[in-house]
Structures are given as C-alpha cells and as structure tokens.
C-alpha cells in the first residue's frame, strides 16, 4: 500500500515503514534503548532526506520512551530528582542542538555532519561496548567477580545533591553536563541517546541499575518531545504521518523485543548491541568514503527576493 508522505515528499510503502518500525522497536525493547540510532539511518537509506528523518524520528522515540517510562514508573524504577536535574541540561542541549541543526542546514553541511557524527559516535560507543561485553563474558567464564570501584573523580565535584530513590549523593554538575550533551546529540542526530546515557550513568555516575533505564527514558522522552516541537517550529520538517507509522510499528515491536531480551544474558546483550552499533557506524563511514553515485543535489529554498 503506497502512501504519500506529506513532508518527506515521497511515496512510501506503509508496510515497509511499519516493518522497519517493528524491527527497530524489537531491538530497542530488547536492549532497553530508544533505537533512534537505527531508525534514522534506516530512513535515510530508504531515501528520506536526513533532515526529515532526524526531525520525525524524534517524535517516534518520544512515543516508545513514553510507553517504557510508564512501565518503569509503575515499578518505581524512576528517580524523579535525578530525572529533573538531567532535564535541566537536556533542555539547554536540545535548544542548542536544534539551532545548530538549522544553521548547518543553511550551510548545506547538515547531511555531512549527521553522517560524520554517526561515524564518530557509533564506532566509538560500539567498539567500547563490544570490548566491555567481551571482557564481561571472559570474566563470567573464568568465574571472576567484576571489580567494583565505588568512587571516582566525579564524586569529588561540588554542588552535591541527594538522589533518594537511587540512594546516591552526587554533584549536580556532571548530571547537567551529561543532560546537555545528550540533548544536543539527540536534536542534531535524531537519537534518543539512551545507548550512551545508560553506560555513562552506570560507569561514571554510579547510578544503580534499578533506576538507570527508567530515569534515562524520562530524559529521552522529554528531550525528544522538546526536539519535536522545536523542529516543527523552526524547520517544519517533522513528518507526522511517517512518525505515526513508525510509532505504531515501534511500540509493538518493543514489547516482543523486551521479552526476547529477558532470555539473553546481559553481557551477551551488551556484546550484541555493541556489534550492532559498530555496524551502523561502519556503514556510514563507507558511505562517506566511496564516491557517491550522484554528486549534485537540489534543494528548493522558496522564493527569496
């Protein structure tokens, strides 16, 4: 069934988009991430311009993280205080991100920036996760218990706050900074940032695993809602029809993914996720290096006097 996407301005097959939404939803449910880093590239590969893909995926991630956040809220697995502090940074970061997005687009370098950011971020994070997953598996094989360092330099920073539900006593500075970075990346790259945020919160801030995913989902939800609004207001690039199909596919896929995820050991899960992230990063790198089939692009910029 063909459907014309009003903003992306191309006809697409509804079932293809639904299937993509479901597939990414499955992965995101399995690993407890938003899946934006997979969805945006997939949309770009089927011919939707990177700008529309980034802007529309934001609302799709908002939907899937909202359904996730509700589930975590019921289990009391969200730290409201931590979420609030993260959001302060997140809002600043998202605003900066959307402004950067608009500026890069006017320069004609948006697509390149998106591709370069994907390469840099995904290959790094993917390689780190893969490495960490390998080490964890080795440790399990050898029966060694992971060494647990309780404090690092982050805990020496001032402006300490008490996060009751997570049972941690932590400076607000790194939390806000992390919020800014995630918000910025989310707006520019069309990712929720969960796959970066969760490891940072665990390893750097030492947030307990019980509250980490739920809290990161709240940040993702709010920054992505905010990004949707800003993209809609400044660039008019949010394709609501595309977003709705993705959401429906995504939330359904996520449920099955979550069940599948429970059957796999966590270090294997991390290894798989690392590989997946790495693969997407490499795909982007290859795209940048090989000579494109078409060197020219046209963009209508309206009538300027």
């Amino acid at each position: 069934m063909q459907l014309y996407l009003p903003i992306a301005d191309i006809p697409v097959n509804v079932f293809l988009i639904l299937a993509m939404g479901a597939a990414v939803g499955f992965v995101s449910g399995m690993f407890g991430i938003g899946g934006g880093f997979l969805m945006t590239p997939l949309l770009i590969f089927i011919g939707i311009t990177p700008a529309v893909a980034v802007a529309s995926v934001a609302s799709h991630i908002a939907a899937s993280s909202f359904s996730g956040a509700i589930a975590y809220w019921r289990r009391r697995a969200i730290d409201p205080m931590l979420a609030a502090v993260l959001l302060v940074g997140g809002s600043i970061g998202t605003t900066l991100g959307v402004l950067t997005f608009t500026y890069l687009r006017s320069l004609g370098q948006l697509d390149l920036t998106i591709a370069l950011s994907y390469v840099a971020l995904l290959t790094t994070v993917g390689a780190l996760m893969f490495w960490e997953g390998m080490r964890a598996i080795m440790r399990v094989r050898r029966g060694v218990i992971a060494p647990r360092r309780s404090h690092n330099w982050v805990h020496a920073l001032p402006l300490k706050l008490r996060f009751k539900r997570s049972k941690i006593y932590l400076s607000a500075i790194p939390v806000v900074v992390i919020g800014i970075i995630i918000g910025f990346l989310g707006a520019v790259m069309g990712i929720g940032g969960g796959f970066i945020l969760v490891p940072i919160m665990i390893y750097l801030l030492r947030v307990p695993t019980t509250t980490v995913i739920g809290t990161s989902m709240v940040l993702t939800l709010v920054t992505m809602l905010f990004a949707t609004m800003l993209h809609a207001m400044t660039n008019h690039l949010v394709d609501a029809v595309l977003a709705l199909i993705l959401m429906v596919g995504g939330v359904t896929g996520a449920q099955f993914g979550a069940r599948a995820g429970q059957k796999i050991r966590s270090e294997q899960l991390r290894l798989l996720l690392g590989l997946l992230i790495l693969a997407v990063g490499i795909r982007f790198a290859v795209e940048l290096v090989i000579r494109p089939g078409e060197l020219y692009t046209i963009r209508e910029i309206g009538v300027t006097e």
């Binding site: 903003i7 609501a240 692009t297 209508e300």
Partner: protein
C-alpha cells in the same frame, strides 16, 4: 505584432519584400482540465492540450507546414544546487549555485526536433528546448544565465528530468489534421502545486508566426496536503499535535500490552 516578430526572429528579407504580409493565423487552444486536484493516492496524470490553427483571408493559400512548440512552466522557486567533492578523503558539499525563480516544473513539447523547426539562433531566442531555456543563476552579486554546458546547469536539468519535473519531447505534439493538434502534458506524482502557464508557439518555415497562452492550476487536497500546509503555517500547533500523538501512542501501547 506578428510582423514585428518576424523581423525580430531575423526574417528581415521576407519582411522587406512583402511588407503587407501580416499573416493572421490564430491559435485556439484548450486544456482538458483547468484545475487538477491531486489526491493522496494520485500517481500521476496526463492533461491533454487541444488546439487548432485558424487561418483567415490574409493567410497565404496552399498547404503550409506548421510547427508547434508547447512550453509548460510551473510555479517558480529558487533552487539551490550543490556539488560534492572529495575533501580530506570524504565526499562533502563544497561548491553551490542558486537558480533564481526557475520553474519547478518545465515541459517542452514539439511536433518534431527543434533543429528542424528553426535555426539555432531562433531556438535560442524563443527558448526552444531545455538547453535554451533561461535558467538564471545568482553568481555572487550578479544574476545571469550561463552557457548551456555549465556543469551546474546541466546537473540541475538532469536531476529535474530524473524526477520527471523537467521534460522535453519533440514528438509529443501530433497534428490530427494539418491544422488540428493535440499534446499530452504528463504530471508526475510529485508535481508542485500552483499555477502552470502554457505557451503555444506556432512556427512556419523556421519563423514564429503567432503564439498564445493558457494556464491551468494544480491543487492538492486531502489529509496529506492538510498536514503539509499546517506544518508550514502553524508550526507550533503542528508540533504540539505531533507531540500529543506520540504521547497517546505510547500510552495506548502501555495499556494494551500491560495486561499480558
């Protein structure tokens, strides 16, 4: 008017020897539909342009070979064309040109190749063919149309042709009788909305005899168009609605799947 045109196109000799030869062919044309509505499942359509060459007493007797060129130009917009080049080992946009107020849709139809209809000079003056159509570029502070083999111009025309928005067909106009003609105007799915001007030029022996104009309008209707219009005009409300839709979908999903 037509006599002046004759001189203008370089047929000075004819005009000198026959100053009273004010040929008075008239063109009568009509398109099959003056208002095309594009619905969400629109997959392209073809308009038909009909017309007749009407002669009067001043027209020289005997059979005359007429040639017709139909130019359809859609709404105008500025287009940015960018070129990728290899820099630091990666392919990135470097150089660019801005085409100023060029038609978003442009079609040129004729009954035979432009080279057979008129001389190169006339083709250039009358903008016959995609290589001769005026496509103004902004080059720094200046506006100019460049040579037809300018790489940006060629790339622009080629890309627009690939999208079916620019077309040239020198066998599209058919004469049903020596004076009655028709041509199809294909409108692909991604036609921009707006007013389309149709200019019909009648040639005989390589010179312009007369010309006439008509127009049609393309309007998009339905949900998709509503979405596109609101996204552009009411960004704030559109954003709010999209955000609310995301929350609703997430909430419904959590209700549906929570019970299991």
């Amino acid at each position: 008017m037509s006599a002046r045109r004759l001189i203008a196109v370089g047929a000075i000799c004819t005009a000198m020897f026959a100053p009273a030869q004010a040929r008075a062919e008239r063109l009568i044309v009509s398109v099959s539909n003056h208002r095309v509505t594009v619905t969400p499942n629109y997959s392209g359509e073809e308009l038909v342009l009909f017309g007749a060459v009407e002669k009067d007493a001043a027209t020289p007797a005997g059979p005359i070979n007429y040639d017709l060129v139909v130019t359809v130009s859609g709404p105008r917009a500025d287009m940015m064309t960018r070129r990728k080049e290899r820099r630091f080992g990666i392919w990135m946009n470097t150089d660019y040109r801005q085409f100023v107020k060029v038609p978003a849709y442009l079609a040129l139809f004729a009954n035979r190749p432009f080279d057979d209809i008129a001389s190169t000079d006339v083709q250039r003056r009358q903008q016959l063919g995609l290589t001769n159509v005026l496509l103004t570029q902004r080059i720094g502070p200046d506006f100019a149309d460049v040579v037809p083999n300018d790489p940006f111009r060629r790339a622009f025309v080629r890309l627009q042709r690939q999208r079916g928005l620019y077309r040239e067909d020198t066998s599209a106009v058919t004469f049903i009788t020596p004076t009655l003609f028709r041509t199809g105007i294909p409108l692909p799915a991604q036609v921009p909305i707006g007013t389309y001007d149709v200019e019909i030029k009648l040639f005989s022996d390589g010179a312009l005899v007369t010309h006439t104009e008509t127009a049609f309008e393309i309007v998009k209707v339905g949900f998709e168009q509503f979405v596109a219009t609101s996204a552009r005009q009411n960004g704030f409300i559109y954003g709010l609605v999209t955000a609310a839709m995301a929350l609703m979908t997430g909430w419904i999903a959590s209700l549906v799947f929570a019970k299991e």
